[in-house]
């Protein structure tokens, strides 16, 4: 396996792991069906791009975009994370305060569609449907972005981000705060009756998820150097949902496993499929179309047969707890 292939695989895996950990906090732990997750990843990517790129007058003005500040690493990554968090505030205030869960999901889905069409059609803003290209990665002015050593450098910058996000996610999930989030997920009205403010809880975790989602986009755009509306269509969110559901809702290890199984593993496997079976050449869009069918079947299959996922949310047993009489009954209600 060559370095470029390995680098690509690792960076994509890291980005998907970070995204799935964020979505798990929102959806798995807190029950917020954030169907616009990809928008948060995307605003992180666009923000990081315009923070690191030169003004659009450079390179013969072949693309147009706002900003172009040429700021050094780590400002674009931090800016991407910040942008994700800032976007979560107005979106959360509109969607999470009054609406019931199912309407929240629909509103967020619609937001995802609207955001994508606006960016696609308003060219002066972020270069419209063509998207922006030639985004310089971290230290691109010092290390050749197309060299093997840059692959290693990028993986080296990405791994600490994964560890940091993992630390944040596991501290939240295993804390009394995480317990309040889970209680809200289970029964919002009852949580209110014991003094929890559900709007505050939801807003908090929505912003945290937005920050992490923004970071994932910033990391990805620095690596692939392009970002366009076609890479953040709303179905991309569905892939991440599939990952969290397959991995195990509410379990951080499950989210990581899901990220490796679905977005990474799945697409890697289908890439290996033959282009031609005997004399029959399948139509060119058959495999991508089948991938979507498979993603859909995966979600339905897991929700039907194994709704708790590969790694279910752990049952928390406290130190000094009496042994349970019947171990078989306590697995999953």
């Amino acid at each position: 396996m060559n370095t470029y292939y390995a680098g690509t695989l690792l960076v994509y895996a890291a980005v998907d792991i970070i995204a799935c950990l964020a979505l798990n906090l929102q959806f798995g732990v807190s029950g917020i069906v954030n169907f616009s997750f990809i928008v948060f990843q995307s605003i992180g990517a666009y923000t990081a791009a315009v923070l690191s790129m030169p003004p659009d007058t450079a390179n013969g003005h072949f693309q147009v975009y706002i900003g172009g500040f040429q700021l050094p690493f780590p400002i674009p990554w931090l800016g991407g994370a910040l942008a994700g968090g800032l976007l979560a505030i107005p979106v959360g205030l509109v969607v999470l305060r009054k609406l019931r869960t199912d309407y929240q999901a629909i509103s967020l889905l619609v937001l995802s569609v609207i955001a994508n069409s606006v960016i696609t059609n308003v060219r002066p803003f972020l270069n419209g449907a063509a998207g922006i290209a030639q985004v310089p990665g971290p230290f691109a002015d010092q290390v050749d972005q197309y060299s093997e050593s840059y692959q290693l450098l990028y993986v080296g910058l990405t791994v600490p981000c994964v560890l940091l996000v993992w630390l944040v996610a596991s501290r939240i999930v295993n804390s009394p705060f995480g317990r309040s989030l889970r209680a809200m997920r289970e029964h919002e009205l009852a949580a209110t009756a014991i003094g929890k403010n559900p709007v505050q809880l939801k807003m908090t975790i929505f912003i945290v998820g937005g920050v992490i989602g923004g970071l994932s986009g910033a990391i990805l755009v620095g690596y692939i150097a392009v970002w366009a509306p076609s890479v953040w269509l709303y179905p991309e969110t569905i892939i991440l949902f599939a990952a969290v559901i397959v991995g195990g809702r509410g379990n951080n290890v499950g989210a990581i496993l899901g990220a490796l199984l679905v977005p990474v593993g799945f697409f890697e496997v289908t890439r290996q499929l033959p282009q031609k079976i005997g004399d029959w050449v399948p139509p060119p869009n058959l495999i991508p179309a089948m991938e979507w069918v498979a993603i859909g079947l995966l979600i339905i299959g897991f929700l039907w047969f194994k709704p708790e996922g590969v790694r279910p949310e752990p049952r928390r047993v406290f130190e000094g707890a009496p042994l349970r009489e019947d171990l078989s009954s306590g697995g999953n209600p």
Binding site: P176, R179, T192, P322
Partner: protein
């Protein structure tokens, strides 16, 4: 739990709750005395549960005022009332199903340093002491209510009666001053009904004030110091159960209603 004062802990005055022209609660005024168990009875559809929800803030009042412990809480959101000690339970089981029994209690406890984003991010060392103290307190309650053996089971797997107990224990973890119980005995096996009755009597002895909606009149007679009767959204009588039994219209409301 302030049992020293014998004045009212909660005063509801001329409380209304309308649902699109339907007057579910139509000008109810009630005083709940400190340290007593007050019963709220009446036929189905009398507006008892709605009134309880309005008191707890789960439903906002359309008109009227609610004063709890000297403070007007009419416009206060439900979670803020709960934090002040005005805590309700629900008519239907409302356990946190995929939390263990012990976690159902712990989650209700106020004053845990780990129960905020910043507290959580600072790590276990920051909140472990609070957690230990609360685990101990919760285990004390579980022992008292005979559910110690179940602490690590998911609350969703418990029986109807056990879920009732979980809900009462959960409310007690908040350190309530007024407990609003919405039919705590409904759907509960008779043996557990008796247990719940004893627990409630114990709690009153300790000075807790309780307002409970209940259908079973013998239970109300045994438990409640005074009773308020509602029908069609209004209060039609109040007093001790014995005095109410003598009033013709109240008997009629129950028999006809």
């Amino acid at each position: 739990m302030a049992a020293t004062l014998n004045g009212p802990l909660l005063v509801a005055e001329d409380v209304h709750r309308h649902f699109e022209g339907m007057h579910a609660v139509d000008g109810v005024s009630v005083e709940v005395s400190t340290g007593k168990i007050t019963g709220l009875i009446g036929p189905n559809g009398a507006g008892k549960s709605t009134f309880l929800a309005v008191l707890a803030g789960t439903l906002p009042a359309s008109e009227g005022t609610i004063v709890f412990d000297g403070q007007d809480v009419t416009r206060m959101p439900a979670y803020a009332r709960a934090r002040r000690g005005l805590v309700r339970t629900f008519q239907l089981p409302s356990e946190f199903a995929r939390l263990t029994v012990l976690e159902n209690l712990l989650v209700a406890a106020p004053h845990n340093r780990g129960d905020s984003l910043w507290g959580a991010l600072r790590g276990k060392g920051y909140w472990m002491r609070d957690e230990r103290r609360l685990v101990e307190q919760a285990r004390g309650l579980l022992k008292r209510f005979g559910m110690s053996a179940k602490e690590s089971d998911y609350a969703g797997t418990m029986s109807g009666g056990q879920k009732r107990l979980i809900e009462i224990m959960r409310a007690l973890m908040l350190g309530p001053r007024l407990l609003l119980l919405d039919e705590p005995m409904s759907g509960v096996h008779p043996s557990i009904v008796l247990e719940i009755q004893y627990y409630l009597q114990d709690l009153r002895k300790e000075g807790l004030t309780i307002l409970m909606v209940e259908h079973e009149l013998h239970m109300v007679e045994r438990l409640c110091d005074s009773v308020v009767v509602m029908a069609q959204g209004k209060v039609i009588g109040s007093g001790t159960m014995a005095s109410l039994r003598k009033q013709r219209e109240i008997v009629d409301a129950y028999l006809v209603g």
